[in-house]
Amino acid sequence: MQNVMGIINLNGDEKLLKEITECRPLAAVPFGGRYRVIDFVLSSMVNSGIENVGILLHDKYRSIMDHLRSGKEWDLARKSDGLFILPSGQPRLPGSKLGDVDNLYHNLDYLENSRQQYVLLSGSSMVCNINYRKAFKYHQDSGADITILYKEMAENEGEQAEGMSLILDDTGRMLDMSFVSKTLGVKRMSMDMYILKRELLIEFVKECKSVGDTNLIRDGFYKNRDKLKIYGFQYKGYFANIHSLQSYYKHNMELLKVDKWQDLFMKAGLVYTKVKDEAPAKYQESAKVANTMVANGCIVGGRVENSILFRGVKVHKGAYIKDSIIMQKCEIAENAIVENVICDKDVQITAGKWLKGEKNYPLFVEKGTVV
């Protein structure tokens, strides 16, 4: 995999997740108790042996830069190769539409100067822990121009299917791609991850730019699907696409199932993130915690069920948290009740308050709010 470079494109569509992404890109959204969404793809790349990763920034990038810093946690602080931050060229004006083509074009030097022959281009809304080696081998063996990674979704997972679905022939070659939303039936959902030659990517970027096209996938790959050999590679491990507050809630909660927890965190490799040096979580005498994921730095004196506590959360005696996601450094005071709630970072729920959302419509409390 030393011959592959990674690019993580933060230029996604975040409108359905507006609450959580108000102050940060989707890639920097906290997930799974101590991570940010980007950690999963980035760690997967590193664990697969990719040593050169570019992060294509879009806007609101302070939090992602604060998270990644030198790339040391992912072993990407290197003398040659390593982590590259690729900012967009122009500031985005309200209402204007700058696509990933402009972003890539602005960073063409990086693409041209990299020494790897192949590129693994990935979106930033996917949570998975994947060994890319198999996909890369498939790409080389099949002689494909582009390999798209996909995940087969069963009928009852239909609601997850928000995004592009692939239509493949028997050999695995892609015939067509269509946008699906909440459609039932087995679908091959694109994971928004593409393997192709670096030269080819550069060609696409230049071509799209020259005719004023903005979207690399739609205007580059999809329009040329007849001329290109595009193949699909099936990934079978844990996969979650974060596209709405509901899916964010659902996929976090899913991790309370032991097999999913192991699938995502342990199977393919370890997941790295920014280290906070928090002490181990502490349970006081009055604690009563079941079916819950708890990160370091938490101090729990209350009752917690079916929930996820991020690093440094304090749950006071008499508080009750149920079916909720409590992000970093929140504090839930005495006798407060919190149910079906997503608390963003630094939220304080004062004593005796009662907050309740619905399972299919969790209540979201903005960053830093004191309730």
Partner: protein, 403 residues
């Protein structure tokens, strides 16, 4: 190298033989502590938090785990261009090769290292205490007093005083007498084994001590008494706060239990004085529906389905349904299967305790003894263990089965 104001020398070569099985494979400073840390994290984090960026770590006994743990010091922000952490093992010279013969000799043999930084002050630390201390305050005290040496002291109770080196000081805190484990202590200022010396003074003393064949080359036994004899200025710096020597199994166990209290004397959750450690890269831990956890700390990557009470659980531990763990310390990656009972035990890393076995110490004079299982112990199903298990010791299926 640029001149440094203060360089720390951390004595980490001790075997810690009173910790028995815990130090059979690793040096004492590398012994895990508090659900996440190793003992050496405390002095190293103190250095970082006190603004000391140059630390020599003197190793000798079984240094592999310690060396690989320290690495280049990134965990404590000690990977520096100018300064940083230096592991200093004993080394051979043209004519001889010697181990460190004592605490003072260890520093003497590394005079070259200290000369490289030419510090004004040298801070001597040991790697076997659990405490949080701002060394900078002690250094200010040393400077204010114009001392040649400053010794950190802790007020201990009169009964305890005879177990320590006792400093007898005047009202100005100037030390006029030092007594090692006195039968009838005159004061209760116990030495914590933390010293600041003005480097030119210490350098001279070390060179003289190095030539003295009769000396034991020990700070407490030789250097300090000699300084008193020569009338040099020694001051006692009073430290207030939690400090625990984890030299014995009993005190090691107690110190671990101390962090569990509701209002612990020793707070490891202070964001202004973090204790840094090498990160194990594990996901948050998971407590299953049947789990019951009270008065305990649990670290990342654990899966808990049983009961845990008054215990310290290190990263990556699995605790099966129906298991009952009480007053115990479970080291990293131990697998505790269902219905296992553990009482007042220290379970070594990567041990496997099969379904339904029981680990609990005997009661001697109404006090339960601590049972220690060496790392990678395998305890067969339904076996009862009431004595410590040595490394590599094979536990027979039937041998200790409950009658």
């Amino acid at each position: 190298m640029r001149k440094k104001e203060c360089v720390a020398m951390l004595l980490a070569g001790g075997q810690g033989s009173r910790l028995g099985i815990l130090t059979q494979k690793v040096a004492k400073p590398a012994v895990p502590f508090g659900g996440k840390y190793r003992i050496i994290d405390f002095p190293l984090s103190n250095c970082h938090n006190s603004g000391i960026d140059t630390v020599g770590v003197l190793t000798q006994y079984k240094p592999l785990a310690l060396n690989s743990y320290i690495g280049i010091g990134s965990a404590w922000d000690l990977d520096r261009k100018d300064g940083g952490v230096f592991v200093l093992p004993p080394y051979a010279r043209e004519k001889e090769a010697e181990w460190y013969k004592g605490t003072a000799d260890a520093i003497y043999q590394n005079i070259n290292f200290l000369d490289m930084f030419n510090p004004s002050y040298v801070l001597i630390l040991s790697g076997d205490h659990i405490y949080k201390m701002d060394y900078d305050k002690m250094l200010q005290f040393h400077k204010e007093k114009g001392a040649d040496a400053t010794i950190a002291v802790l007020e201990v109770s009169d009964e305890e005083a005879s177990r320590f080196g006792i400093m007898n000081a005047d009202e100005e805190r100037r030390i006029f007498e030092f007594e090692e484990k006195p039968e009838k202590p005159k004061s209760n200022l116990a030495s914590m084994g933390i010293y600041i010396f003005s480097w030119p003074v210490l350098r001279e003393l070390l060179v003289a001590d190095g030539k003295n064949a009769k000396s034991e080359h020990d700070f407490g036994k030789n250097i300090i008494p000699q300084m008193l004899e020569q009338g040099q200025k020694l001051y006692a710096y009073a430290f207030e706060g939690y400090w625990k020597d984890v030299g014995t199994l009993e005190s090691f166990w107690e110190a671990n239990m101390d962090i569990l209290k509701l209002k612990p004397e020793f707070n490891i959750y202070d964001p202004n004085w973090r204790i840094y450690s090498v990160n194990p890269t594990r996901p948050p831990h998971y407590l299953g529906s049947g789990a019951k956890v009270e008065r305990s700390v649990i670290s990342e990557g654990c899966m808990v389905f049983g009961q845990v009470e008054n215990s310290v659980i290190f990263p990556g531990v699995y605790i099966g349904a129906g298991a009952n763990i009480k007053d115990s310390i479970i080291m990293p990656h131990a697998q505790i299967e269902g219905n296992v009972v553990i009482e007042k035990a220290i379970i070594g890393r990567k041990s496997i305790l099969k379904e339904g076995c029981k680990i609990a110490g005997k009661f001697v004079a109404r006090k339960q003894e601590i049972v220690v299982l060496a790392e990678k112990s395998v305890i067969p199903s339904s076996v009862v263990i009431c004595e410590s298990v040595m490394p590599g010791q094979k536990i027979n299926d039937a041998a200790q089965k409950e009658n």
